[in-house]
């Protein structure tokens, strides 16, 4: 079977992220990495191949030139090949535009299963997997803590923690799934893996290769716009006291003054 894993190259979440003047994420301000939450998607895809299912794993990213780094990192963890869609006209896309490009690339490659992260650590909308399923006309089985493929039944089954219930869900293949950071720790690339990744094929595509008109994506096609982006003012410096036996009583006085107690 063909597994496509969608991975995103994102500004490092532990650095100070900012906006450019036109209200999009400033990708030059900080180093970018493979989105941590997509490592879990890579891990689940690799576990499927290791469970005896005969599968080829292809990584897919949509992003500027350096997004290739995310593909190399994933390939170093395992898997077979990668596709990088890069085009100046994609710049500034919203989730609708991004999902369109991803869907066209997935259709062109062919797929039985698409694995995504639960959310990208920069945009963190968590909507691309559902949009992909909608565009591809297949079920979305998302936010899974646990995931199992049955080739005989042609289905994917999983467990998700909803807001008020634990739900066991199932979709028929082909399907789009997304996995959480509770699905299983992602492996570190081994030295051998890093060397092997250099030889794995990475195909670069542009919009024309995918029969996408430039005006269907990018900033001009985005259906929402940021008006203002303001850094939260730093919190005023608080009162920090060392506990010398009456720390709890002192804290109670603070809470009473604030009318909490």
């Amino acid at each position: 079977m063909k597994i496509v894993v969608c991975v995103k190259h994102v500004p490092d979440a532990t650095a100070d992220r900012t906006f450019t003047e036109d209200g999009t994420t400033d990708r030059d301000a900080v180093d970018s990495v493979l989105s941590e939450l997509d490592e879990y998607a890579v891990e689940q895809a690799l576990r499927i191949t290791e469970s005896g299912v005969d599968a080829e794993v292809t990584y897919l990213t949509v992003g500027p030139d350096d997004a290739k780094d995310a593909l190399r990192k994933a390939l170093a963890m395992g898997g077979d090949r990668a596709i990088h869609v890069s085009d100046d006209d994609i710049q500034g896309s919203d989730a609708l535009g991004t999902s369109l490009v991803l869907a066209k690339a997935i259709e062109r490659h062919g797929f039985d299963l698409v694995v995504c992260g639960m959310a990208s650590t920069d945009g963190s909308m968590g909507v691309v997997p559902a949009m992909l399923a909608e565009r591809l006309g297949v079920p979305a089985v998302t936010h899974l803590d646990e995931l199992a493929i049955s080739i005989e039944d042609g289905s994917v089954t999983g467990r998700r923690e909803g807001e008020s219930a634990t739900v066991r869900v199932q979709g028929t293949l082909p399907a789009v799934v997304s996995v959480t950071d509770r699905s299983g720790d992602a492996r570190y690339p081994s030295f051998k893996g890093i060397m092997a990744a250099k030889k794995k094929p990475v195909e670069t595509l542009d919009l024309a290769d995918l029969d996408i008109e430039p005006e269907w994506t990018g900033r001009s096609a985005a259906r929402s716009a940021v008006d203002t982006a303001a850094k939260r003012p730093p919190r005023a410096k608080g009162e920090i006291v060392a506990d010398e036996g009456a720390g709890g009583v002192g804290l109670a006085a603070f809470l009473t003054a604030k009318k909490f107690a």
Binding site: A13, T14, R17, L37, D94, L96, S99, T121, S124, G126, V127, A130, M131, A133, E134, R135, G137, P139, V141, R160, G162, E163, S164, A165, T166, V167, R168, V169, Q170, D181, R182, A222, R223, S224, A225, V226, D227, T228, A229, K231, R232, R235, A236, G238, E239, I240, V241, A242, D243, G247, G248, V249, G250, L251, A252, F254, L255, K258, F260, A261
Partner: protein, 321 residues
């Protein structure tokens, strides 16, 4: 006046609080119409009317219970086509966001997720406010094309009654073939305890790795009960199996914005901050004076949580007499 569709979040006819918040916000934009899926609409209509629903669309079909998400998308697409709403509001839950995502594709409409406030611009169109980048930025945005589809976080506003007598309209929806749907095999409801829900609570008391054991969470719970608070936990505490994931605060847990957040034995990693730093007042108890959580704290105690928290709980009880 423009119609605003509000997707009702309910458990067997009991409407959840975020829906009342959505109805309250919808009134700033136009006339709210509630979209109710599944059985139990009769019991729900009263409360929906109390919070200003002028209309309740009821879709009651077996598909709604058996499948996840897509029946709601089918219903909303059909109702939007016939009613021409000025916006569609949904709760920022897992299902709510997924419904919104598919709906936006079908309607070719702009999508905004996780709004923490909505106001109307001079033309009455929605302007949203969101917290981004681990809540370090506050962003305002609007939809530029199509019917704005907006998901709203719990606690975005206080529900305000505005009694109306809604017109109830039963809608027959043509559902997509089951092959594109996700089937629900089983649903195990989580038993909510007596404490307030994380997203709805005015006060949250959270414990981290410093709590050092499942049984020690009693210390956190004791303080939470003295304050009438919800209990939260860091990912470290959840991963260790000390407290359920449904209580995790942070990037991959729940994002909370209470009046008061107390972090005990939590270092204050960026992923934890992402879920709590919009809280109005923040208090930290940590034995490491250099813990980054103190950068956020309005009041911090450098000390052992096992000494400070019990003393605090007792003092609160004493002050309350």
């Amino acid at each position: 006046m423009a119609e605003i569709l509000v997707l009702v979040d309910h458990v067997d006819g009991t409407v959840r609080k975020p829906t009342l918040e959505l109805l309250t916000l919808a009134r700033r934009l136009g006339e709210p119409s509630a979209v109710y899926l599944g059985p139990g609409a009769d019991t729900a209509t009263d409360v929906l009317g109390t919070y200003g629903a002028q209309k309740v669309y009821v879709v009651d079909a077996p598909d709604v219970a058996e499948h996840l998400v897509t029946p709601a998308v089918d219903a909303l697409t059909q109702i939007a086509a016939s009613s021409g709403p000025a916006a569609v509001l949904l709760p920022s839950s897992l299902d709510g966001k997924e419904i919104a995502a598919r709906l936006a594709v079908r309607l070719e409409a702009g999508l905004i997720t996780d709004a923490v406030d909505i106001t109307a611009d001079e033309d009455g169109r929605p302007v949203t406010e969101q917290s981004v980048f681990a809540a370090t930025y506050q962003v305002t945005a609007h939809v530029t094309e199509g019917v704005p589809v907006i998901t709203v976080k719990p606690n975005a506003t206080a529900p305000e009654p505005a009694p109306a007598t809604p017109v109830v309209e039963k809608v027959d929806v043509t559902f997509d073939p089951a092959a594109t749907a996700t089937r629900v095999l089983s649903r195990t409801p989580r038993v909510g305890g007596d404490r307030p829900e994380l997203t709805e609570a005015d006060i949250v008391v959270s414990g981290g790795r410093g709590v050092n054991g499942a049984e020690n969470f009693a210390v956190i719970e004791r303080l939470a009960d003295a304050l009438g608070a919800a209990v939260g936990a860091s990912r470290a505490a959840v991963d260790a199996g000390w407290y359920p994931h449904s209580h995790q605060v942070g990037q991959t847990g729940t994002q909370v914005s209470p009046q008061l957040y107390i972090a005990a034995g939590i270092s204050g990693a960026i992923q934890h901050r992402a879920g709590m730093q919009t809280s109005k007042t923040i208090v930290a108890v940590n034995k490491d004076a250099d813990a980054p959580i103190f950068e956020l704290a309005d009041y911090g105690v450098v000390g052992d949580l096992f000494k400070v928290l019990p003393q605090l709980a007792e003092e609160i009880d004493r002050r309350r007499g």
